[in-house]
């Protein structure tokens, strides 16, 4: 069960880190709507904005001004938050790979492997938080902008709604939370049953035993010592 949770967490961590990175570098955080003429689609992202003409398919992109120029708070904050989230989630995924059961790294110490999983779960949670703050802040900004325009009954030609990059960012952040929760809380819950330890010991024995009698007999003591070590640590704690 513990290993299944690990793999599930790893799967979610991979996709949410990918979603967050894709959301940072794609250009459709807000798209235009209510355009009665429907001649062009405008996408504004965190770094540039693009207008696609509906008839000839030409996309014109314009980068925003220099990074020190006057930008709205929403843009700067979302950029910073999402880059933080990217780094944290990516590092957590890479770290989680070392803690996976099928990777031969620290095979003799299942406890430190479990600890690696736990820490990467914490990193995922810590990465999901800025991702969520950034995306929600941007979404709230877009919503407020639009509702003020609607409220004052102003039609300036272009009104914006959420684009798919915003949704990508939101789902990436939620996926980070999900995998972080799987790796921390659920692993902690299932650790108490103790089934994970015996199975890991068994798989350890299998891993170390090639089809030779001598090797199998050699690998027995190491398994026993690692179990003994675990018991010793448990009783001490």
């Amino acid at each position: 069960m513990q290993h299944f949770l690990q793999y599930l967490g790893c799967f979610f961590a991979f996709f949410s880190a990918g979603f967050l990175i894709a959301a940072t570098w794609t250009d459709c955080w807000m798209v235009n709507t209510d355009d009665s003429l429907e001649v062009s689609a405008t996408c504004r992202g965190l770094w540039w904005e693009c207008v696609t003409n509906a008839f000839d398919g030409i996309t014109t992109c314009d980068e925003y001004d220099s990074i020190f120029a006057e930008h709205p708070v929403k843009l700067v904050l979302t950029r910073g938050m999402l880059i933080t989230a990217d780094i944290l989630a990516g590092l957590a995924f890479a770290f989680l790979l070392l803690g996976l059961d099928c990777v031969k790294f620290l095979t003799d110490e299942p406890r430190s492997k479990a600890r690696i999983c736990f820490i990467s779960g914490l990193m995922l949670l810590a990465g999901g938080l800025p991702g969520l703050i950034g995306s929600v802040w941007y979404a709230i900004g877009v919503y407020v902008e639009r509702s003020t325009l609607v409220l004052h009954n102003v039609f300036v030609g272009i009104q914006y709604k959420f684009g798919w990059s915003c949704w990508l960012g939101l789902s990436g952040a939620l996926g980070c939370f999900l995998s972080g929760a799987l790796l921390t809380c659920c692993m902690h819950l299932f650790r108490g049953t103790g089934s994970g330890r015996y199975s890991s010991c068994g798989s350890l024995r299998k891993a170390h035993a090639p089809p030779g009698m001598m090797a199998a007999s050699l690998s027995h003591p190491s398994c026993q010592t690692s179990t003994a070590k675990m018991y010793a640590m448990d009783t001490r704690v």
Binding site: T60, D101, C102, G212
Partner: protein, 217 residues
Amino acid sequence: MASAGLQLVGYFLALAGWVGTICASALPQWKQSSYAGDAIITAVGLYEGLWMSCASQSTGQVQCKLHESLLSLDVHIQTSRALMVVSILLGFVGLIVSVIGMKCTKVGDKNPVTKSWIAVLGGVFFMLAGLCAMTAVSWYAARVTVEFFNPSTPVNARYEFGPALFIGWSAASLTLLGGSFLSCSCPKPEERGQQYYRQSQPSTAREPTIKREDQCI
């Protein structure tokens, strides 16, 4: 038999190459307008890639347009597209296969000979992917060169190599290198003899068991 470290190095090289291949095939700068003529200051820089052609204005705006019809394209663009896509797919398969075959994973640990053959298979996939990308990029580059030195091309309409070509070359070499590292995990002949022996076939090769053990760990 290669060490686990060599396999890991090969895997990461090939991973970097695969990412580079994706970047190169997505970028629009496969060829860019050259400034070989008299006009040093130009208002517009032209790029062309596998999927779109772009014009970068001096004001900082970039205008892009997807290639219109698939069938009216030049043959070399279509071939390069196909080869790049095939290369990305082969690299993806190689990524999955070599994870199963590498020594740092526990999957299929019971028969290490099959496991290392799987690693070799992953390496072969990577090498094929690298070859495809190399062919696509080199073919495109050859066409650009031929057009550049064609006397009937006007000087102002000449194109030269863009950054994506160089990214593609380096990515293809990385993938080839990583694939060949992975393929170094080919099991030695005495181990194969050992495997036949284990499958209750008469064999002359009889190895000491201790040697097998340190190979598996």
